[in-house]
Symmetry: C2
Subunit: 659 residues, 2 copies
């Protein structure tokens, strides 16, 4: 084929994307045509000449990863997956774009359709999680070598992703770590929703990326040979690469292209008809001519040989690698953790739960090689680092500690990428209050149903002198209201170990460990039952003989236990429920919940916003907690100041009993 | 004074900061000495030679603003304020550093001590809000001229602030808008908590700032003449300026300086004693020798003449300017809003509440000149822009619309800066679900107790086809659990107008307006009473004759009203409570709350996480809401799919009545 014909074929293949996109959006009366039309040429080159994939094995471990960071352009990836021959998507799915229950959701959803490597839509998340994928690839490459793990991570994103602050955190981390197998294709179309980019931004993106150690290239995004040359060059770079692809948004739409009008709404029947004429596309909606479809399907089979070679290697690679791929935990991985719990009970170990968490990591990390941890520049406070861990640095990825820097948001997103890639189980630490900075990434983890473990220390006014900017108040409630995330707030070493175990075993739900800064007594008298698995349980007292029930979490469980002791002296019997994870408690059978909470008056105690505790204490119970923000001062004084004390609990019980 | 003596005096003045810092932290056994010691020289030059202030009028409108973005170095600003002669802080306050109730809180707190222009501590917020302050200055300068409003905004920040993504959003906006009176002094000490910066970051900060249109300078942060020259140059720049101040963290501490050891803990008695020797500081803790104190006090009086000139001008500037300074709303500013409500009732105007919000803005903006609004690249969706508004651009700040770009986090922080500066009332729009991106800034607004209005549209599964990444679920609950923020979710045009009025009048509490994408019927039959002011009220039915109470917000109030109509046909009397703002409802007298909620069974209806509604319906009531994330599909189908329908409400009432 000569160059002209070659380009002509690529053009037809790209136009297939364009018309699937335009017609699907027309039919659903909703969607974003601009980006897929503009980036169809770039995507065609990428997917027909570079990306390593196998439509028959969408989860092939060593496939190249592809993240459509500009998730609103979802028709681009749906078109690609259909054209390449993924069995999970048919032309009817394309027809059903954005309909309830369709695989072709408004934005690409991980787990909803094979071939989608990540849920995207919230801007900046994709490019940032791609950094995590590229990092996972390097980590596993260091462990298993080029034959088992060696692939690229490609991203398509627009100006939106680059304007979001998270992208700066992520690209500066990628540059620092020298993740040279990460290739970002920037849809540089100079258009955002509100108009031309220059109305709101004057950033020299090339200079910006160079400032954080990236290789940068610039191409006409509608010139196939330029695109091909640039991706080839990017593959050879010793740095991550940004390719600025100068494109026309809505390419092909005669009157709307190049304007924000084609960004987020259907083009309209008239415009689509005119586009058919302009691009000489004489086919019905959802019709892809056989020769073009075959060309795409051939492209889909490009990776078959590589896949077979890899499969062979993987089969002879032995159990460790198989376990990595299957996300399988080593047998007996909890043994040291069990020993830690027993010892803690025997010795009544009194430590802060952040310290308990570190003791857990000492018992886990050597036995679970998939674990990769880190902290956003607070390792010495979050206690996320344990002896024997090795820090990952540029050029040497054979480690398991990531120094995330002061980049909470990117940490959350990179953890998502690590988890999505597979083969690693990520944890990451910061102060609980600053989890707000990574909340959008945490939400995405919950929505995707992936494992990620957030080690969030300094979990209350127990922070003390650092004051209200550093004291979480509303955070527990705010995560309890978020679907599919487990919020653990353990009360001692045993519960901390239980939380770690449950979090690691929770393959489809991210977990928060909210941990104290201050020392806490050991309360558990036995560690034989994994009590935290049921979310809440009676830690003191008799369920059948109680005048009141105290429900507490974390650092306040010991206050409740002390209050119980004092009340007992006065002849008042109360039970104490430790509730380390309300979400797990809510999943228990109703009779278990009622058995634990009992019929006696209930009082909740938590050094946090009271919001939400009526769920357990009802309108007749009492809640001892915070009504406003914290304050700066020694922690014990703050507990007094805010009335979260043994005395308050005792008084509350007596008041309720008087009623 | 010759150069040598001049430098010697500055050195002594800087050392006064160093020892107040070291001794206060020693006494409180808690704090961050490294930054104040390292930046004492820079701060001394800035505060003795440049900053325009008057300790006797800490709120002087035309003072230079100073933001200690690295808020952990709070002893720097406390030392400065004391030394300069601010009456609100005494040497005893310094002695009481970080004690409960002390003005000298762990991190600087706005409103807690005169002279603190902003609460800082969460990294990246200070530098970003400073952009808002610098923008407010330009806006008001454009309106009132150089004599009334012309000042600089200075920031001191460290590497932490620069690594946070929010800083990229903010500096790119500042560069785009050409805010040349913003001067950032970067404490470039190459140390973060976990070690040297290069362990986690390799960014060329100078190149990075140049890429977003900044002027950049580089100085030895311990060389007084270099510092002075750089600040002078910065003042003359036509761009915002970053001055890289190369410093030694913990300067003066013989063994700990230059390491992360002096970042966040007391130096220790021995080290402080050695520091006294090294710096030849022969004074007791908290003792500042008279000549040095006098030199500082003289510096504090530098701005007195300028202040007097300004005061004169201000007194003759007339009422508009006086109102701006006093944050006073124009008389009768609500008139057009009142008219809008009456008309809506009369015409039964059926529109989405986002559209209603735009109608409100049309009625507000022309009458409240302080209003400055914008959107994070969603103006056409958030409907935040109205006719007659003028977009602020580089070089022409005489407008009232800010194109924030795709920078939600910076938008939140810039709004804080605008509000803190005074003279403007900021609002800003994005999709409700993406408010997560700016949550840390919103928390800070709530903590500082300042006015900011978040226009958050697309507030539920009513978003429809865009799917779960774009559908808020947990957001209402998450803000209701946050102290000091009002979450309005109006049900129609009248409630939307009420929410706008209450938000604008809420000078010490930020407000959220959660607004529907979809059209909603007009439900209010009268607009004469400002019902939303009480948070919740009976919108349909008879409080004394009801078998059940339906409590709903926003788009679900109309479902509740329809359910009531249907039940009435069947002879079942229910009342409908519209609850546009639970926080205001909670502030009402208990008997009002009980009167509204009634004794009959209660059902809450909200297309959002059920979390928290037990507070109003108790354990015996019912909650019709969401248990998980949303889905992609047409909005009406989603309401059906998730069971948030008139039928479900009717069934729920019948079930409760059967019990």
């Amino acid at each position: 084929m000569n160059l002209f014909n070659h380009d002509k074929q690529l053009k037809s293949m790209a136009d297939a994307i364009r018309f699937l996109t335009a017609d699907a959006i027309e039919k659903s009366k909703s969607g974003h045509p601009g980006m897929p039309l503009g980036m169809a040429d770039v995507a065609t080159v990428l997917f027909t000449k570079f990306i390593k994939l196998n439509p028959e094995a969408p989860r092939w471990f060593d496939r190249d990863r592809f993240v459509l960071s500009a998730g609103h352009g979802s028709m681009l990836i749906y078109s690609l997956l259909y054209l390449l021959g993924y069995k999970d998507i048919s032309i009817d799915d394309i027809r059903n774009f954005r309909q309830l229950g369709a695989k072709t959701a408004g934005h690409p959803e991980y787990g909803h359709l094979a071939g989608i490597d990540m849920t995207t839509g919230p801007l900046g998340q994709g490019i940032s999680s791609a950094v995590g994928m590229a990092l996972a690839e390097r980590i596993l490459n260091a462990r298993f070598g080029d034959e088992l793990c060696s692939h690229y991570t490609y991203v398509i994103n627009g100006d939106g992703c680059l304007m979001e602050g998270i992208s700066e955190e992520a690209i500066s981390l990628a540059g620092h770590l020298g993740l040279n197998k990460l290739i970002v294709l920037w849809d540089n179309n100079n258009i955002t929703i509100d108009g031309t980019v220059d109305k709101a931004n004057s950033t020299d993106q090339i200079m910006r990326f160079r400032a954080v150690g990236w290789n940068t290239l610039d191409v006409d995004g509608h010139d196939y040979s330029q695109i091909e040359k640039a991706i080839s060059q990017a593959q050879e770079s010793d740095k991550p690469t940004l390719i600025s692809c100068r494109t026309k948004i809505g390419f092909g739409a005669p009157t709307k292209c190049g304007t924000s009008k084609c960004h987020g709404s259907p083009l309209g029947a008239e415009e689509v008809a005119a586009m058919r004429k302009a691009l000489q596309w004489n086919y019905e909606p959802f019709e892809v001519p056989e020769d073009i479809l075959q060309a795409w399907r051939n492209a889909g089979r490009r990776g078959m040989d590589a896949y077979k070679v890899w499969e062979q290697k993987a089969q002879t690679a032995g159990q460790p690698f198989a376990d990595y791929i299957a996300n399988k935990l080593p047998a007996n991985w909890t043994e040291a953790l069990t020993e830690l719990k027993r010892k803690a009970v025997a010795e009544k170990t009194k430590v802060a739960t952040r310290k308990a968490s570190q003791m857990c990591l000492e018992a886990i990390v050597p036995h679970v090689p998939q674990i990769v941890g880190g902290s956003a520049d607070l390792a010495a406070s979050n206690l996320t680092l344990v002896d024997g861990m090795k820090t990952i640095v540029k050029g040497d990825y054979d480690g398991n500690n990531i120094m995330y820097g002061i980049r909470e948001h990117a940490m959350g997103a990179v953890m998502n990428g690590l988890s999505l890639h597979g083969g690693v189980i990520p944890y990451g630490g910061t102060f609980f209050v600053f989890s707000d900075y990574m909340r959008p990434a945490m939400r995405l983890a919950a929505l995707m149903g992936i494992r990620a473990i957030y080690v969030l220390t300094h979990d209350s006014i127990g922070v003390g002198e650092d004051g209200p900017t550093h004291q979480p108040v509303e955070h527990l409630a705010s995560y309890r209201s978020m679907p599919n995330i487990l919020t653990f707030r353990p009360c001692d070493v045993v519960e901390t170990a239980e939380a770690w175990q449950l979090a690691i075993e929770s393959e489809h739900t991210p977990s928060i460990l909210a941990l104290s800064r201050q020392g806490l007594p050991l309360l558990r008298t036995s560690s034989e039952i994994l009590e935290s698995a049921r979310g809440g349980y009676i830690i003191r007292g008799d369920k059948d003989n109680r005048q009141a029930t105290l429900i507490a979490t974390g650092s306040e469980v010991s206050l409740a236990v002390s209050a119980r002791d004092r009340l007992k002296e006065e002849g008042i019997e109360v039970a104490v429920v430790s509730m380390p994870c309300t979400e797990l408690f809510d999943r228990q059978p109703l009779d278990y919940q009622e058995e634990i909470l009992g019929a006696a008056p209930r009082i909740a105690i938590e050094a946090a916003s009271k919001f939400g505790w009526e769920k357990y204490v009802g309108l007749d119970g009492d809640i001892i907690g915070m009504d406003g923000f914290g304050a700066s001062g020694p922690a014990e004084q703050l507990y007094e100041h805010f009335g979260i004390t043994v005395e308050e609990i005792v008084d509350s019980v007596k008041n309720l009993l008087k009623k």
